[in-house]
Amino acid sequence: MSTLVVLPILFPLIGVVINAFLGKRLGEKVVGALATLMCSAAFVVALMLFSQVSVSKEHAIHAEFGTWIGVGKLNVPFGFLVDSLSSALMLIITGVGALIHLYSIGYIHGDPRANRYFVYLNLFVASMLVLVMGSNYLLMFVGWELVGLCSYLLIGFWFDKVKNAEAARKAFVVNRIGDVGFILGIMLIFVTFGTLNYHDIFAVVGDHKTAALALAGDPVAPAVLSAITLLLFIGAMGKSAQLPLFVWLPDAMAGPTPASALIHAATMVTAGIYMIVRSNALFHVAADTSNFVALIGALTAFIAGSIALRQFDIKKVLAYSTVSQLGFMIAAAGLGAYTASIFHLMTHAFFKALLFLAAGSVIHGMEHYSHAHHSAQHIDPQDMRNMGGLRGKMPVTFWAFIIGGLSLAGLPPFSGFWSKDEIIVAALHNPLVFALLACTAVFTAFYTGRQLVMVFFGSARSKDASHAEESGMAMKLPLIVLSVLALIGGGLNLPGSMWLEHWLEPVVGVHEGGFNLPIAALFSALALVALAAAWVMYRDGKRDTSLTPQLSSVSSFLNKAWQIDALYRAAIIMPFYALSSFLARVFDLGGIDGAVNGIGTLTKGIAAALRPLQSGFVRSYGLVMIVGVVALMAWLVINTR
């Protein structure tokens, strides 16, 4: 049984090794097929593990492969834990992952670096599985860092464009800020509990569930738990793109669209939610942090949702929508509705992956014309103002987008309706969070409607749009499968059966969730109204569709994403530059050559200041030693006894 556990990780890794070393020789077709096959194999094994978990008595499979690090008190096993939570996520990661691999074969076709792309994609799947399958925080951190690396590599995949390289760097730096929080949280956990294994930590917390916990006689102060959970949440803020660290995700759309679908919509960004749900025992006890988490989630949902109202890039809309939906999940986790959070994570994985892939198909179709005609005049194939009327030309994509969009908007019976509704019901006892989420739900329906109308209805607004063509089979098939999933995904936790709720019970415990008919009806009606409003406003193709729209101050503010990037620039980046250039000027007074830039300047400054100390004269070295000896002797004489 335990060998089975490593297989899901092993398969994609085999793909990585083969494709990395033989990729050039095998050719793009074989590489893509192999990568897809490996991911599908992982999916099959994940299914087998899932069924084993469901029949096993304790609803979990533990597999340990010896001690990974064992020094002094620290004993970290190389252990994996497949329980109801991780097995569900494994299905999403490998299943949606396999579909995206398949789609990528068509999408990346013809790119000279295609084999590298598939290597990254497989490596990502393996890393993500390490993240969710590890039985301790250290292994989770390893997976956490690895997916960060893959994300960096994929965002900057077309690194020859400066913009992409900058986006990759931005994602990397912002995520590092979160990682510092995470690693500090892990250290604090170790200091507090003396272990990093989920099982042992949660056993301690679960035993008492009161403010004063005890481990080996030391009471665990509530403040310590608050600090731990807060630090962990900072990690989640980075990875799951929450306020104030969400700025990297919209830029991350610079990567290939299927990678955006997999990493920046369906799986990696949900790592923060997984981490919080996994640590639910800790968050449950730390009420302050949980309230903070809920508030941050709701605020993020609201702000990102409002930004999405005024975006023109088809992927940017989806990106901000992703941030907004992640806010929903984080808010749910903060409210203690862990099942709802995971439920929304799963349905979101279906419909957002679908939307991204459909958007990729649209972009692909838009590029068709300029590729075929080598047209010199290059228009932006991602700008929705250049689209319109694609409904007839790309029927499969259109229907896929409709299903995904309505699911996102929260219309019954699509999957998004059920999961979002559960979160909103859970927020009923927290008026502020409820209000924010309610507004966001309306925003969501509106921007989805706007996007649908601008892309698919009306008449074509550019040559590229009028000559757009449907994508090939490799791209259509995943769209169809995901459409079905987005349609029926709500069945996972339908009121009445509440299957997911029972499934996750061993991990997150029981909580009163559920279905509230008046709320559901109200929000369905609101979504319908918002969709209708979008239809009315954008149907004629005039509003917002000329390339230089007169943006009012409000919509310009929204279009510029609440000016948050500008704020960071003014508050952090500019002062940093100012400081380094100031330092450069100070250090350069000694007549050193003019500095190059950034760190180079600083380096040269330090060089100028310090290097003369290393004069090359033996006797001055001796003098430094003597000074050291005298200081040391003085220290010893003064401090002994």
């Binding site: 064992g70 380096t603 070295y621 002797m633 002994t640």
Partner: protein, 480 residues
């Protein structure tokens, strides 16, 4: 007889080196590679002897011999293994480098062997006499080795600088031992430890130990006794530098572990705090100076100073002495593997260009010219930086953890911060290798091949770096 068995590894090296001195006379100048292979053969013998010491003493007892002058325990046997492996690694590099740089001489190998023997003896030291004799035994051959490339002036300069300052530092060491003897009436470390444990730590003993710290701090390049390091490492032939960064450091720390961590030093608060301060200074200045270097070789010299700082943090962590000693020895092994990999690349570059210029531009575009070298170098630099999944990370983690458990949170934090700073200068080399093109160098120049023995060494070192990063327990289990 049992006494001899206890120091079998250094014994094999010493006797073998003496015999090799005679054999060398009969070997023609153009066939000195034979001497190198014989020397490696001897080291394999010593390696086997050390493994046997480890195997037959599975309980990890401390066995004394030669009237308590020497001892054998796990640390001693493990360090013997480390020294033997370093020696073999360096000799594999010399096959090409020393030939190209015309220092393929028999005495090179004999002197290196004598030095290794002294280092092994240091690992077995149980008495301050042994410490002193072993220290000089490995140092004196090193003075000569630095100048082996004469009449090249920078080699001679590095040699004389090392010699004068080394002798100067020895003066402090000897005087320190004299004062410790004066305070306790014994030269035996265990007896001294017993006295200190009983609370007898007169100022004379503390001062003496402080002076010993100066002498040993010099050997391991601790700030402010480090000034010789960059000049000597820079001027010495690269193969000698490779030997010094790895082996001298390990030998110096072996002595520090015996006298300070496992010996009387750990029981004197003022000494421990002084070591912690030295560690902090060493981390800070090593990394800051490294930041300013344009030559990769000199940068690595400063980096080795910085690593001495991290190791000193382990010596200053006295709350759980066994754990700290494990961490220090583990770090020495990982640092040896990492540093050998890096210096393997440097020696190959030096052979390709037939000079000792290691400016950054020599590394520009290396990934295109010699992908294998570039990847080994990148791995080594990541490990020096302390990237997770490499040996360097595990080593640093263990050291900082023992520092934290000894209440030296500030020192561990400083270690983390300086490690982050170090990323700047390590990454600069990686950027030059991978992201810049060098138009001036023809890619198909026939000199740009990597010699087989060096490649074998670098591969093994890289495997060790990754293996110790992924599965540190492989080695750590041997301590338990």
């Amino acid at each position: 007889m049992q006494d001899l068995m206890l120091i079998l590894p250094p014994l094999i090296v010493f006797l073998g080196a003496t015999a090799l001195l005679l054999v060398d006379l009969k070997i023609a100048d153009d066939r000195k590679e034979t001497v190198a292979w014989i020397a490696m053969f001897l080291l394999v013998g010593a390696l086997i002897a050390a493994v046997m010491l480890l195997y037959f003493n599975r309980t990890g007892d401390v066995l004394y011999g030669f009237s308590n002058m020497i001892l054998t325990d796990r640390y001693a046997a493990l360090l013997d293994i480390v020294f033997a492996l370093i020696g073999i690694g360096v000799f594999l590099l010399t096959l090409r480098y020393n030939r190209v740089h015309q220092i393929m001489r028999g005495e090179f190998f004999v002197l290196t062997l004598f030095s290794i023997g002294g280092m092994m003896l240091m690992a077995h030291a149980a008495n301050l006499v042994t410490i002193f004799v072993a220290l000089e035994m490995f140092s004196i051959p090193l003075y000569v080795l630095c100048g082996v490339a004469r009449p090249r002036l920078d080699s001679e300069e590095s040699s004389l600088k090392y010699f004068l300052l080394g002798a100067f530092a020895s003066g402090f060491l000897v005087y320190g031992i004299a004062l410790m003897y004066g305070a306790t009436g014994t030269l035996d470390i265990a007896t001294m430890l017993k006295q200190v444990e009983r609370g007898q730590a007169p100022l004379l003993l503390v001062i003496g130990a402080g002076l010993m710290l100066v002498g040993l701090g010099f050997k391991v390049a601790a700030v402010p006794f480090h000034m010789w390091t960059p000049d000597v490492y820079d001027g010495a032939p690269t193969t000698v530098t490779a030997f010094m960064t790895t082996a001298t450091k390990a030998a110096g720390f072996a002595a520090l572990v015996r006298v300070f961590l496992l010996g009387p030093g750990a029981f004197v608060g003022s000494l421990v705090s002084a070591i912690a301060i030295l560690a902090a200074l060493t981390m800070i200045f090593g990394n800051l100076f490294a930041l300013a270097q344009r030559s990769v070789k000199r940068m690595l010299a400063y980096s080795s100073i910085a690593h001495a700082g991290y190791l000193l943090a382990g010596i200053a962590s006295v709350a759980n002495i066994g754990q700290s000693a494990n961490a220090v020895i583990f770090y020495l092994a990982t640092y040896a593997a990492t540093s050998l990999a890096a210096f393997g690349v440097l020696s190959e570059i030096g052979s390709m260009n037939r000079d000792e210029d290691h400016g950054l531009e020599r590394y520009t575009g290396l990934a295109k010219r010699n992908p294998a070298l570039a990847w080994v170098m990148a791995l080594a630099l990541f490990s020096l930086m302390g990237m997770p999944l490499t040996a360097g990370f595990t080593g640093k983690y263990l050291l900082f953890q023992s520092a934290v458990s000894s209440g030296l949170n500030w020192l561990a934090l400083l270690g983390v911060i300086t490690s982050v700073i170090s990323a700047f200068y390590y990454l600069r080399v990686i950027v030059h290798m991978f992201m810049k093109e060098d138009a001036t160098v023809a890619a198909n120049n026939e000199q740009y091949y990597v010699s087989k023995p060096s490649l074998v060494m670098m591969t093994l070192a890289s495997v060790a770096v990754v293996a110790l990063g992924l599965l540190p327990t492989l080695l750590l289990n041997m301590f338990a």
